[in-house]
Symmetry: C4
Subunit: 248 residues, 4 copies
């Protein structure tokens, strides 16, 4: 497989994994920045993540214009992806999802913060963007570059942002990283809801979060990726890792 | 397939999807108004939704009289369907279910209202009908046209009504719509129970609910339908859509 | 199949269904009174319910003595079954289980009562038997006829009793009935835990419970049985019903 | 199969069971002390438990040094296992996991104690070790013998210890025992969270816990093991038991 074909295959797998792990249902999407052109990204046509095949993948300019649609209908909310790539040179993959564990934090004042080491990648405190603040009563969908830029500004340099009454965006340096952080964002939300009912929570300290992120390597994502591929019924092809092959 | 055969096939699929998604268990049912005769509806014989085959489907007059029973036993609560079709010309499909997420709202004073955009179709506030108010101590089953009319009156022009200690009714313009709103009614109930434990909830505003409903098209239901068909092991046959083919 | 062979087959199916629906895990058991001899009952050898085959089934006298063990080890807690059959001529099937939804009610003062019509068969209020009251600090297992009679006395004429820090016993007129009431006991416990968090609960009234039980027929159990057989991967063979074939 | 081959096969099965039952996700591990050499233990290379095959198993000295790595990367946290074997001659198997039910107890002051007889093996009160107490802000991983010894000291002679913001360690006399106690530790945590919401909990008494442990035999673990093997898709080979073949 060419490098580009490998990326497309990984993007299909990412969709299937996010569906299998319950992060997305019939809605939600994951994109990757084009490996050869920073001004483009790849995203499926409008289809449920669990159903996506390689031929569903389309290229887009950062303003959301499809490059070669061939009659395929794009996601109305594709602008989310372009606006994040536009504002963050470090970001190479983006997930937008409606995880049922995460949404309760988007509609209440309860802060979402790392409760265990595996979840440190969500950032010390996940902010919430409310479409109503700047855009008033809408259907909550991010269907313009203007709305998407407002959302990207709320994300800032962080790995994740919540969207009030809607879902979340997770951004990172690779497909494997954003899938990993999406799944552990969901787990963190679950754990936090359970722990709150038991009493005051000792969250990870800032120093601990920094220490986890500093020592996290590709092998962490890789271990989970093999496992999630198996659960999603996708072939797993070990990737050369960009860190030492030490395990965890 | 003829248009009628297509509807019957869709109705079988609707039963299987509602079972797969946990909205119905061994009980609950979904009907469709006859596509050619407004004074009839189609509903399975008395059987668990997950087990239903095409030959289980029966036609009924709006008063619940079977047209051609051929020895098949009907649901005792079929009257629910007829009474809703009788009172609502806009309704072409009806679900009655006992979703375990929804029932807690039927036995408490907690209001059930849209917490996220996908759930706007449940209506701004889902009312509760209590069989005991007009009929006293019964087995709670809606087994007469009189009880069914009382329930339909509580539904009014809305998309859904709860039944105290029993379940819910969801009514709409198509099979796909009532299945969609049943599943997202269940999700909304789940989300609301989780969010309540975190603090005060920012529900969708009336303006947001209106905006979602105004822009919701057949493509939204279609995206989910393909996904749910796959999960339920049913063939999926893309339907021509009655709106622009823009995705979400 | 002979009538007895049919009962044995149904008992295997009951074990598989209770495992599939999460009422039992590796532990728990279901018995049936011998169809031809009121002084005997049939119960599996000591094995996890999901693994049970026809050859695992053994006959016991009401005092727990195996009739023809052929080297098969019986459940240490088989006495539960005999003591209930001994004290209740109306009982023809018994389930003992550790449902994780039910146990929280056994260790707290929260009353367990029907919250919806499907659950009326659990009785107006499920009592709790505590082994410690009469027997002090034990391993909580009911391994003597004396302990089992104490438990049966707490059950009295009711359909179900909880066992503190242990589980529950459900007794009834048929295998299908005790399986049905075990599964809906579990559901009721789930629903009640959810509803409590929402506010004060409107339980079924005594009049409603009586009305449900009065009108409940074999067709209700049969509808669920077909569904549960399908989920448990067991063949389903429609049984002649002892009530009118009206559906629900 | 040789005795050693049987142990390796059982260790693979243990990994698969813990994954199937949700005690481990992509992370977590289970080891066994070498049956012929008390100064060695067997543990997989760094891989998700659900994916582990016999060739992934490696031998380690108690200080964590691999005996014959053949290029296989070990778990960074393997030190946990060696430190427990070093300090506890009675321990022949160890599980380290991140059960999502258990973690909430590690970050709050809520005590985790047996709520039902099946869970008595977790010990009267499960203590919590906090890496921060002696080691300050770290990535929370136990990657040195020094940290592992601190953790083993907190475990002491008990069957289980929690790790703040991280997970738990379960130690015991056999693979079957630590798998059993890991799964019932998870169940106990679930039950306790549910019961707390209902009111004050009557936990097992010290006398009851002692009575359960005194009468627990290999047949209890065996019954569950057959069941879990079936669920995990692993062959089950009945083991000669070291207690009387009386069932429970």
């Amino acid at each position: 497989m060419s490098a580009f074909a490998t990326v497309l295959d990984e993007l299909v797998t990412a969709n299937r994994i996010l569906a299998r792990e319950g992060v997305v249902d019939s809605f939600g999407h994951v994109s990757v920045r084009h490996p050869d052109r920073d001004d483009r990204y790849v995203l499926s046509r409008a289809r449920a993540p669990e159903c996506i095949e390689i031929d569903d993948l389309m290229e887009f300019a950062l303003d959301g214009a499809p490059i070669d649609a061939r009659g395929r209908a794009p996601y109305a909310e594709r602008f989310i992806h372009g606006a994040v790539y536009e504002s963050r040179a470090d970001v190479r993959a983006v997930v937008h999802h409606h995880s049922p564990s995460v949404i309760p934090f988007s509609v209440t004042a309860a802060p979402l913060s790392p409760i265990m080491h595996m979840c440190a990648g969500i950032g010390a405190r996940v902010p919430t963007w409310d479409s109503r603040t700047a855009f008033g009563d809408t259907n909550l969908l991010v269907t313009t570059q203007e709305m998407a830029r407002s959302l990207a500004a709320a994300l800032g340099g962080r790995p994740a942002v919540l969207m009030r009454g809607h879902g979340a965006v997770v951004a990172g340096a690779s497909i494997r990283e954003v899938v990993f952080n999406s799944i552990y964002l969901q787990l963190n939300a679950d754990l936090q809801m359970k722990a709150r009912a038991l009493g005051e929570i000792a969250f990870l300290t800032e120093g601990e979060i920094a220490a986890v992120l500093k020592t996290r390597g590709a092998f962490t994502y890789e271990r989970a990726w093999e496992h999630w591929c198996r659960r999603a019924g996708r072939p797993y092809d070990l990737r050369p890792m960009d860190g030492p092959l030490a395990g965890r």
